[in-house]
């Protein structure tokens, strides 16, 4: 075990060194994005992982999209897709059951990067389990995750082709609505007053890609509550509802309400389908 760990560390060190020496990460050149998280740090194993516990739903989706759902031995409660049900659940993504993870004897755990959960990486280190951090915040992160996960499970070629597929799919979807007039849209979550998605969010990116102008592009935060006056005071064509509560129709006269549910919750390989759905919701029939 120890020798494998030190070998893994050695390889990781070399990989990181070479990556660092090659300069800026090639995929992080988009200046229009303020507030991105740094590229997720990885401790990749030398041999492809065969038993993977994924604490990140989009990583779970990615593994399936790469055609290797067979390596998945553990998922979170939030992986609710029917194909994932037979796989054992280890609880929540940020507070997983360590016992359940250990019992599955994984050789890799994929977890969220960032400061929200400092315990899980520490505990995994204590238990000597390899872990890989991903941070799916924006569309770019989808590609980053595919790359990392693909490398970890030994499918780098499939990862590349999946990434190309998604890029092409998004470009096509975006071009498909390019001729339509831009739609003024507000993306609202539950709350009194309701919360809106602001600039710099994945949602904002997809909306923009699919011909929608987020009326709350000046929000000053990723998500924040907005005064009802703001809804009335801005011209809104479409209100997308992520939750169960809807604002009074009189607050947004003339706007169309569409329920999105959790479709845009996390950036993942399903982003093309999500974008197509958004396109239909925004533009109605003309999107097809």
């Amino acid at each position: 075990m120890t020798r494998r760990r030190s070998a893994a560390r050695g390889v990781a060190g070399v990989v990181l060194l070479s990556v660092a020496c090659s300069g800026e990460q090639p995929r992080r050149t988009d200046d229009a994005s303020a507030g991105w998280s740094p590229y997720p740090l990885a401790e990749a194993g030398a041999t492809p992982a065969r038993r993977v516990v994924s604490l990140v739903p989009s990583a779970t989706e990615t593994i399936r999209a790469l055609g290797r759902a067979d390596v998945l031995v553990g998922r979170t409660e939030f992986d609710t897709a029917s194909w994932a049900r037979p796989i054992a659940s280890v609880g929540g993504g940020l507070e997983p059951s360590l016992e359940a993870i250990v019992a599955l004897e994984p050789d890799l755990v994929i977890r969220f990067a960032g400061e929200q959960d400092t315990r899980t990486p520490a505990r995994l280190d204590d238990l000597g389990i390899e872990h890989l951090a991903v941070r799916p915040d924006r569309i770019e992160d989808v590609y980053g995750t595919i790359d990392l996960v693909g490398a970890a499970i030994g499918e780098p070629e499939r990862a590349d082709s999946l990434e190309a597929e998604i890029r092409a799919g998004l470009a096509a979807a975006s071009a498909g609505v390019g001729h339509l007039p831009r739609v003024r849209v507000a993306y609202l979550l539950d709350g009194t007053p309701p919360w809106a998605a602001g600039p710099g969010t994945f949602i904002d990116e997809v909306l923009s890609l699919m011909g929608g102008d987020n009326v709350f592009a000046d929000l000053g935060a990723l998500y924040a509550p907005v005064s009802p006056e703001q809804l009335r005071g801005r011209e809104i064509d479409v209100v997308l509802l992520a939750g169960t509560q809807a604002p009074d129709a009189s607050l947004v006269p003339g706007a169309r309400f569409e329920r999105v549910g959790g479709a845009l919750d996390l950036p993942g390989p399903g982003v093309v389908q999500a974008a197509q759905r958004i396109g239909e919701l925004l533009h109605g029939r003309s999107a097809r």
Binding site: D190, P193, G220, V226, S227, E229, Q230, R232, T244, L251
Partner: protein, 334 residues
């Protein structure tokens, strides 16, 4: 300070608060536009904002703030405890449990009326449970038992809330926590009417109980000897205060601090005679919450701060100033 001086000052402050609350808001409108609307003109958007959103919201803030202050005064008098405040009998706990359950079951989608109704039912249930416990012995209501029952029931409800939240998805937790922080954002003319329906009659009846409430401050036995129907007053006053609080929680969530500190602030200025304390505390609470809500709406526009945060941030220093002032020797009482 003289009661009348404070009364006039508060009345003026109230009017000023209403004017400011209508003139300013999250969306920047010019004075001309606002005046236009008030005179009957203005564009559709401006009319909707000023008359449909700002005006009812300001009035609701006044009714809820005044109601919470009234409830605070009443609970402090009946429970003979300066630390009493409107949520002390588990009212906020009961309302919160009900709304958290509604949120986690996804019923909120059924209609925006469901949350306030659930909150009210939860609040009233809490009151019923606490009253039952306190009068279980069948003898006169011992307010210490009532207080203890309230604290225990509130703790139980908190545990229920924690449990439901622990097994709920993140979105539900967020909605619930935000609701519990209190907000006047859902104000419309219906909620104003509801709040008025509870607060105004309750305030009127409580004014009639002002002298008996004064007597309660000395003790049940003496109050009885001076002609008060102690048990009747206790029950009526507690019930009215609890209903006003429940109505406030139903339309605006749990807004803390107002019901505890506004009564004390007014007491520090004009003493504990409820004939003056009741109306002045109502005015002070109304003005305070109106101004706090204005700050909540405007400070970080287009986003809103939970109004309970503003009431605490502003209220605490204000109260400390009053407290320091009161510790100077009293030269004359009236």
């Amino acid at each position: 300070m003289s009661r009348w001086a404070l009364g006039v000052a508060l009345a003026l402050a109230l009017v000023a608060a209403v004017i400011l609350g209508v003139r300013f808001g999250s969306v920047a409108l010019s004075t001309g536009e606002v005046v236009d609307v008030l005179l009957g003109g203005g564009g559709a958007v401006e009319r909707d904002i000023v008359l449909g959103l700002r005006l009812p919201r300001v009035l609701l803030a006044g009714l809820v703030g005044g109601g919470l202050a009234l409830a605070g005064v009443t609970f402090q008098a009946v429970l003979r405890n300066p630390l009493a405040e409107p949520y002390i009998l588990g009212i906020s706990g009961g309302a919160s449990v009900a709304t958290v359950i509604v949120l986690s079951l996804g019923w909120a989608a059924a209609g925006s009326w469901l949350m306030p109704v659930a909150a009210f039912v939860g609040a009233v249930s809490a009151i019923a449970v606490v009253f039952r416990v306190a009068t279980a012995t069948g003898r006169a209501m011992d307010v210490r038992v009532l207080l203890l029952a309230g604290v225990v029931v509130a703790a139980f409800f908190t545990a229920c809330i924690m449990f439901v939240l622990a097994i709920s998805p993140a979105r539900t937790v967020q909605s619930a926590v935000l609701w519990m922080m209190g907000s006047l954002a859902a104000a419309n003319w219906t909620s104003v009417a509801t709040a008025a329906l509870y607060t105004i009659p309750a305030g009127t009846v409580l004014m009639g109980l002002a002298r008996p409430l004064n007597l309660m401050a000395i003790g049940d036995e003496t109050a009885h000897y001076l002609g008060a129907d102690v048990e009747g007053v206790k029950r009526a006053a507690l019930l009215l205060a609890a209903l006003v609080t429940a109505a406030g929680v139903a339309v605006a969530g749990v807004i803390g601090f107002v019901g505890l500190v506004v009564p004390h602030g007014v007491r520090l200025l004009i003493g504990s005679d409820h004939r003056a304390l009741i109306p002045l505390a109502f005015l002070a609470g109304a003005t305070f919450l109106m101004l706090a809500d204005l700050a909540a709406r405007v400070a970080l526009a287009p986003t809103e701060i939970p109004v309970g945060v503003v009431t605490a941030f502003v209220g605490v220093p204000l109260f400390l100033v009053l407290l320091r002032r009161s510790l100077a020797p009293r030269s004359e009482s009236k």
